[in-house]
Amino acid sequence: MLSIKEYQTVTSISGPLMMVEMVDEAKYGHIVDVELGDGSIRHGQILQVENDKVLVQVFEGTHGIDVNRSTVRFLAKPLELAVSPDILGRVFSGLGEPKDNGPAVIPDKRVDINGNPINPYARDYPNEFIQTGISTIDGLNPLVRGQKLPIFSGAGLPHDDITAQIARQATVLGGGEFAVVFAAMGITFEAAQFFIDDLQETGAIERAVMFINLANDPAIERIATPRFALTAAEYLAFDLDMHVLVILNDMTNYCEALREISAARKEVPGRRGYPGYLYTDLATIYERAGRIKGKKGSITMVPVLTMPEDDKTHPVPDLTGYITEGQIILSRSLHRKAISPPVDVLPSLSRLKDKGIGEGKTREDHADLYNQLYAAYARGKEAQELATIMGEAALSEEDKKYMLFANKFEARYVSQNYYENRSIQTTLDLGWELLSMFENAELKRIDVKLIEKYMPKFRKTNGNTSNE
């Protein structure tokens, strides 16, 4: 075994970074302990080694560290999480230390939190439908086991209610509950507590693991937090055969911490000051979701991020969207119209839906139905917009009909209570009911056979709305 080496050769400190010199045997990516003059301990990780000079990022920040009286210990290992089945039900800090006054975890093993990439050949394609009970997700953007589907939100929008609802209601058809791994990065105490209380009420807390870094906790720590969470998730999924739902909230705060390090290193900044490697860095987090051949468990991931100024093209949502398998976007204008959850249907997307739905999974009409709902709603939205510019009178009869559809769709399909758990059948039937205001011939995206099979029921209950 390597003995742990100690140095008192800190030469400079700048922002969250610290330079230590005359070090031998330092390794890239390994961790250090920094003991301050007052005996308190900070944690750091090696970002670069050149000869005997070592650049360290300090997770708790460098305030109060002085060059003369600090001792740096090189621990000769990467950041690790101690895992065992006992992590269930526990709350940890953003750096993986128990935060709930519970005992230390007696580890089955210690795992490098950076993990290793899943061999693409070892992946199993996600194809099991998860019912969240939310129509805009289940009906239009179905989530499947092993998918990474983020929520793009904005300041003041109700993403916390939606994630809590998903965690509360998510089930796989034919039964099967999720273990929940929750990583909080820089969110408020209130937001974190809301989520925890919700899990407590349903008893799901027994099957949950939390890593909590709050808004007033050290910012740099947030770089490690999602990695701790995913390491726990991988252990639960691939060692203990559990289906795990990982919620990462809020990824924007994570990215800001990364930006801070990058700025301190004086790296060439990319868009809006974020480092050029932000895409790759985020990918090493998001790509840890998935299923693996021959393993029973799975990791489904719902990251949450707030879009600065509601701007989808901001680097954080933009690069996230380039990696994840779709996105659920919340809309401020729907929120203002008091439509909740305010899911902006058109730009939202689930890319893995196609193999998770249909006969034997949800229902044979599912795919055609969402295609038609999308087409009709898109047209209705256009009409809504035209009406705001020109006034409703300027719309053609056709356009008026589509606008009416869009309004009904928002009021009935999109809108639902945060405690309303709609079965997939209810959601699908609701789609037919709304479409019944159109002639069969207008429903070009639906197979004639399906129209013949499903529509009559809804035409009857709806009387003659089809003839205006």
Binding site: D24, E25, A26, K27, Y28, L47, Q48, V49, E50, D52, P78, D112, N116, P117, I118, N119, P120, Y121, A122, R123, D124, Y125, G146, V268, P269, G276, Y277, Y279, T280, A283, T284, E287, R288, G290, I292, K295, K312, T313, H314, P315, D318, G321, Y322, E325, L346, P347, L349, R351, L352, Y374, A375, A378, R379, L386, M390, A394, S396, D399, A441, K444
Partner: protein, 591 residues
Amino acid sequence: MSETREARVVKVAGPVVVAEGMAGARMYDVVRVGKLSLIGEIVELNGDFASIQVYEETTGLGPGEPVIDTGEALSVELGPGLIESIYDGIQRPLDWLYKAEGEFMSRGRAIPGLNREKKWHFKPTIKNGDVVGPGDIIGEVAETTLLTHKIMVPAGISGTVQKISEGDYTVVETIAVCTAEDGTETELKLMQKCPVRNARSVRNRLAPNQILVTGQRVIDTFFPIGKGGTACVPGPFGTGKTVVQHQLAKWVDADIVVYVGCGERGNEMTDVLTEFPKLKDPRSGEPLMKRSVLIANTSNMPVAAREASVYTGITIAEYFRDMGCTVALMADSTSRWAEAMREISTRLEEMPAEEGYPAYLGARIAAFYERAGRVECIGSPQREGALSIIGAVSPPGGDLSDSVVQATLHVVKVFWSLQARLAYQRHFPAIDWLTSYSFYKEYLKNCFEDKDRGDEMDELIVKAMALLEQEAELLEIVRLVGAEALSPANRLSLETARSIREDFLHQNAFHEVDTHTSMAKQYEMLKTILHFHKQALAAIESGVETAEISKLAVREQIARAKYIPQDDIAKITQIRKTIDEQMKELQTVSS
């Protein structure tokens, strides 16, 4: 294998490592770094120091660890066994890695690209005593039901062939001996090695003169790509770049498809791996996997190997082209490749140009697309091959002024512009018909055996495009003064343009029938839509109301024509008869 004296790591900064004691090493040599023997490549030499991009995660590596120069340039192995393989960015077979190391990628493992144990049946096509040179075909291996693999003499070798005989060989066994004029003997094998950074030579470059039929209507009809041509698909996230690439990989009329998943999602590669063996090539009925090679260096795999993946892919593609095949290479996404270049460049502390990209970005992109083309291959017998490149581009925020998009548009001949607006409406493929372009349009008519039909198709396309352009203008007017202001003929134009968009351009990749459309069916569909337009226009002129025309039952048939199976396309011709009948009825009613 030359071992340089005492080469040691002095610096580790992410994927870039600096080593000293490297005097004598060459640029682009492959090296093994550290105690874990990580695989790397020299990308900068400076006196005794070399900067190395490491193809594997460098955590745990530190100064003082050894570096070994293998003396070989980064190369791929070419020979039987490539087809149906899935490789990482430096040609390590992912299926073998999985069997050897488990579900997660580990480090320091050098696995050869081609299976060393498997025996292939080799049939010579030349005899002992024949004189051969580079590129000459000396024999064949029936690799898959879709590919007869031609065994060629590697670059730099010529002479008289001896000891060639039919039989079963592994890729490293000697199948013949070639004696040069100066008496040096070279053993020929089923396999050859080829460095990836430079293009393989060709005898002559020729201009494309044919369309690569993709079965995607908006592409084939409006913005076709040539055999040997280049195309790019830029678009914001979620607009359908990958679906376009997958669709092409499935349905393109090429002999070989090389699919490079460069810095994208793991599940997308799994999708290909699970789908392709099930899908049948429409021409031969064989599983599509039997003509495909996959390179998967996903976004979470090391970035240096991502940078290399594009070169690994293109070199494999060129090799098949040299056999005389028509090859299509898809790279999804070239932006991730460019970003990998940027990251390495930043770590090398090179002077950045725009958006932090290195100044040589444009040159590298151009050099990559230049490796496409229709060529006369070197060696005998005389043959032609073609290599088309289709690159996805993922600009930040979908902004087309991005450096990678701009550098790409400088060199490619086809531009499929994906629009978020169309994707949100679920109009797929979300290729914007007004801003996209193709320089290969003139070759479309060559797809039709009947020359008149080819000419007619050209006319139909011009008419359809004119209607789409007119639609954009008319919609502008509607936005300003309302729909009431339009003449009946204009209103019909809007209807027909909508029909072109919804009934022709819109194509569902996930619908069993709609997923690909033969050229013959594309012609029938477009002709029918425009036939309706012509007849409707005549009806309007004779006083029929546009509203009456929109209500005709035959319009639903036109809309559903896309779902008519290939074998039944006569039914589409039939729709035109129905149009005539229903129009006639209208006119008799109204007069």
